[in-house]
Subunit: 351 residues, 3 copies
C-alpha cells in the first residue's frame, strides 16, 4: 500500500487538515506511531498520544478539536474507527488469495468441492462432504463425513468439524477450534457410574459467523446446536449441546454456555462470563466480564454483572457496600455499646 | 431405524398409551417435535411441550399423569431418560465402525497395533507405542513414544498423547485434547527469572474415561497424573501435574484443578469451577458452577459454592444478605441518627 | 541414570546423612517413595511423609531437623527444590535429541531451516519461513508464511503459528497452542451486525518463553502482541490482541488478558485470573487465583484478589465480614427493636 493523505481523504469521504501530499505505507498504533504510517484516534483515552505521535497521518472523528498543536496531518471522517476498518479491509484484500488443492491433502472420492477452493497439505475431507466455492481449508483441517460448508468460508489449521455438521457462507473458523464434538451427556447408574448417551444431533453455523481459536461447540443430543447468522465468538469458548446463540451476538474469550440454553439476538458476553443450562437470555442482554446468568433473563437489553448475575447497578451498589462492610460492622458494634450504655444509664437513673 | 410404538415398548419393557402402530424413524426434542419422530419427557420443566408437540411418540416415566389431552402416543417406562439413552445407543450402534489403516498414516516400525484398529490419514504413531484391539485413531492424532493404549478406545482428530502416557480400555478422547504436556514447574532464580523443572512423569487414564475437546491433562513432575476409572471430563478443562481425579467423577466445561490435588470418588464439578493445589477433596463432594475449593474438603458428600467455596447454604445466605446490604446500611445510618437524637434529647432533658 | 548417595552429594555440593553407598535409578514423590528412588522434601506440609517413605534417598534443605527417625539416606543441600531441578535436568538431558527432517513433512521451497533441526511427519512450513538451528518441530505443526523461529526452540504436535509471527530462541510451545490467530475486532454497524476489522499485525515471542497446551495468543490489529523474554504461560490461557506481557511474568492455567493491556515485569497471575482491556499492570503485581484487575494497577509489587480485584487484605476482610453478614443483620434488627422499645418507653414515661 502507498497512499497520500489526499487519496485517503477521497477514499474515506473525509477532509485533510494539514499537508495533503504526505504519504503513508503502513499502519501503526497512535502510541507507537512511526513516520510513513497512518494511525487513528477514536477512544478519547488515547488523545494525549496525538500530540506526540510520529505518525504522518492520523484519522480522527470530524468533530475532534485538538487542545494542543498536532504535527501529523489529520484526515477528518465521520467515524475514525469505521474508516480505519474500511482502509484495513482494502489493504488486506490486496493479499493474493491462496488457491489450489495440495497433493498432500486427503479427499475422499465421494467428497465434492466447489470452484476456486484452496485445500492445503494434510487436510482431510471425509466421505460425502460437500464444500462450496472459494473455500479456504488450511493445513491439517479435518472435515468429517457428510459435512456441508458454504461459499467463501475459511478454516484455519487444525480445525476439526465432526460428521454431519453444517457451516454457512462467509464464515471464519480459527485454528484448533472444534465443531461438533459429543455433548456432555451421561446417564447416572445406581452404582455411581455413568453411561454415555449417544449424541446423535449436529451443529449448524449459519452465515457470517466467526469462531475463535480453540473454541469448542458441541453437537446436539438430538436436533441441532445453532450458531445464528453474524455471531462472533472469541477464543477458548465453550458452547454446550443444544444451545442456540442468537443473531449478531458477540462473546469475548473463555465464555461458557451450558446445555440447552437459548440466547437471544444481539447479546454481548464479556470475557469469562457464562450462562447456566436450560435458560433463556433475552435479546440485547449484556453480561459484563465474569457475570454468570444462573436463571432466565426475560427483560431485553439490560446489563448484568456478578455471580449469580444481578442488574449491573445492583452489583455496583453491593460491591461498594461490601467494601464498606468492615466499617459498617464497627458502626453496629459501636451502636450496640452506645445503646446498652444508654439503657443501663436510664435504668440506673430510674432507681 | 424404524420402530412402531409397540416395538419400542417391547424393547424398553414399557407400556403403550395410544396408537401402538404409529411409526418413528428419528429422534427429536419434545419442543421441536416432528411427525415420525420420538421424543422424551423427563425434566418436569418441559411438561408444557407434551401438550403441543408434533412428535408421534413420547417416552414418559410410568407415573406421568397428563393434565391435558396429549395427541402423541405415550410409551410409559420406568425411567424415560435411561430408556431414551438405551434406544439411542441401539441406534448409534447400527453405524458401521471404521476399520483399516490409512496409507497416509505414519506408523513407526517398532509400534505395535492390535486387531480391528482404524488409523486414519495423517495420524502418527511413534516408536515403541502399543495400541490395543479395535482402537479408533482418527485423522491427525499424534501418539508419542512408548504410549500404551487399551482396547476399544477412540481418539478423535487432533488429539495429542505425549510420550510414555497410558490410556485404558473403552476411553473416548475428543478432538484437540492434549494428554501429557509438561506440568507447569519452574524454579525461581534470584534474578527473577525462571528455569524449567523437567517433567519426567506421565499421565495415566484408567478404563471408561471420556475427555472433552481441547481439554489438557499435564504429565506429572515425577510419578503419574491419574484419571481414575469412569471419570468424565467435559471440554476445555485443565488438570495440572500430579493431580488425581477419583473414580466416577464428572466435571463440566472449563474446570481447572491445580497441581498435586487429590480428588475423591464420585465428585461433581460444575462449569468453570476449580480447586487449589495440594489439597484433598472428599468423596462425593459437589462443587457448584464457579465454586473454587481453596482449602481441603474433608467431609464427604456436601455441596459447595462461591469463591472461596463455602457450604452451599452459607453461600446462599450470604448472597441474599449481600443483596440486602445497601438496605442494611441505610437502616444502620437511620439507627445511628435515632440513637444520637435520643441521647441528645435525654441529655437536654437532664439539664 | 544410576547414582549413589555419595555421587549425588558431590554433584549437588551437599552432604550425606546416612549410607553413602545406597543407589538410586529413578525419581519418586516422597509420599509414593519406592526403594531405589530419590525423593525430595521442600514444602514443610510434606514433612510427615519423610518418616514413612520407602525412597532410598531424600534431598532435604541443609537446615532440616527430623523430629523422628528417618530410614532413608538424606542428602543435605542448600535448596532441595533447586537441587532436584538440577538433577532432573541432568537426567532429562541424557535423552537423545530427535533430529532429521521427515519425508512426510511439507516444506515450501522458499522456507529456510538451520542445522540440526528435527521436523516430524505432517508438519508444514510455509513460504518464506526462516527456522533457526536445532529447532524441534514435532508432528503436525503448522508454520505460516514468513514466520521466523530462533534457535533451540521446541514446537510440540499440533501447534499453529500464523503468518508473520516471530518466535525467539529457547522457546517451548506445547501441543495445540495457537500463536497469531486474528484478534477479536469488529466494527458495529447501525443494523446491529458486525464487520470484521482485519488484523494486520503479528505476535512476537522473545527468548526463553514457554507456552502451555491450547493457549491462544492473538495477533495485533496493527503492530505486535508482545510476550517478553522469560515469560511462562500455562495451558488454556487467552492473550488478546496488542497485549504486552512483561519479562519473567508467570501465568497459571486459564488466565485471560483482554486487548491492549500492558503487563509489567515479574508479575504473577494465579489460575483463572484475568485483566480488563486497555489497562496497565505494574511490575511485580501478584493476582491471586480468580482475581480480575478491572482498572489499572499503578503501585508495583502488591497482591490482589477478587472481582473486581482489590488489595488482598481488603478482600480477606470483606470475605470474613461477608460470612458474618447474616449475623450482622440479626444484630441490626435486634438493635432496631431495642431502640424502638426504648423510645416508646421514654415517650410513655414522659406522659
Amino acid at each position: 500500500m502507498e497512499f497520500s493523505a489526499r487519496q485517503l481523504a477521497d477514499f474515506l469521504h473525509g477532509e485533510v487538515d494539514g499537508d495533503p501530499s504526505v504519504k503513508v505505507s503502513d499502519f501503526s498504533k497512535i502510541e507507537e506511531g512511526r513516520p510513513g504510517t497512518i494511525s487513528f484516534l477514536s477512544n478519547p483515552r488515547y488523545e494525549p498520544y496525538i500530540y506526540e505521535t510520529q505518525s504522518s497521518v492520523v484519522l480522527v472523528n470530524r468533530d475532534f478539536e485538538p487542545s494542543k498543536p498536532v504535527s501529523a496531518t489529520l484526515v477528518r471522517v465521520e467515524n475514525a474507527y469505521e474508516s480505519l476498518a474500511k482502509l484495513m479491509t482494502l489493504v488486506s484484500g490486496e493479499r493474493a488469495k491462496p488457491e489450489g488443492i495440495s497433493q498432500l491433502a486427503s479427499l475422499h472420492a465421494t467428497a465434492v468441492t466447489g470452484s476456486g477452493c484452496y485445500i492445503d497439505s494434510f487436510a482431510s475431507v471425509a466421505a460425502g462432504a460437500v464444500i462450496g466455492n472459494n473455500v479456504q481449508i488450511h493445513s491439517r483441517v479435518s472435515i468429517g463425513e457428510n459435512v456441508v460448508i458454504g461459499n467463501n468460508t475459511i478454516l484455519y489449521p487444525g480445525v476439526v468439524i465432526y460428521r454431519d455438521c453444517r457451516i454457512g457462507n462467509n464464515c471464519v473458523i480459527h485454528a484448533n477450534a472444534v465443531i461438533g464434538a459429543d455433548g456432555f451427556g451421561f446417564a447416572h447408574a445406581e452404582d455411581g457410574s455413568y453411561s454415555k448417551i449417544p449424541q446423535l444431533g449436529n451443529v449448524v453455523l449459519e452465515d457470517d459467523v466467526e469462531i475463535g481459536a480453540c473454541t469448542t461447540i458441541d453437537r446436539a443430543t438430538m436436533g441441532s446446536t445453532y450458531i445464528r447468522r453474524g455471531v462472533k465468538l472469541d477464543n477458548l469458548i465453550q458452547i454446550a449441546h443444544n444451545v442456540e446463540v442468537g443473531e449478531d451476538t458477540v462473546m469475548a474469550a473463555q465464555v461458557g454456555i451450558a446445555g440447552s440454553t437459548k440466547i437471544g439476538k444481539r447479546t454481548m458476553f464479556g470475557g469469562q462470563s457464562g450462562a447456566n443450562g436450560h435458560i433463556h437470555i433475552a435479546d440485547g442482554s449484556i453480561l459484563a466480564a465474569r457475570a454468570v446468568a444462573m436463571s432466565a433473563i426475560d427483560e431485553p437489553g439490560k446489563m448484568w454483572s456478578g455471580f449469580p448475575a444481578v442488574p449491573l447497578l445492583s452489583f455496583q451498589r453491593s460491591f461498594i457496600a461490601n467494601k464498606n462492610l468492615p466499617e459498617l460492622q464497627k458502626t453496629v458494634t459501636q451502636l450496640k455499646k452506645q445503646l446498652e450504655a444508654l439503657e443501663k444509664r436510664l435504668s440506673e437513673e430510674k432507681k
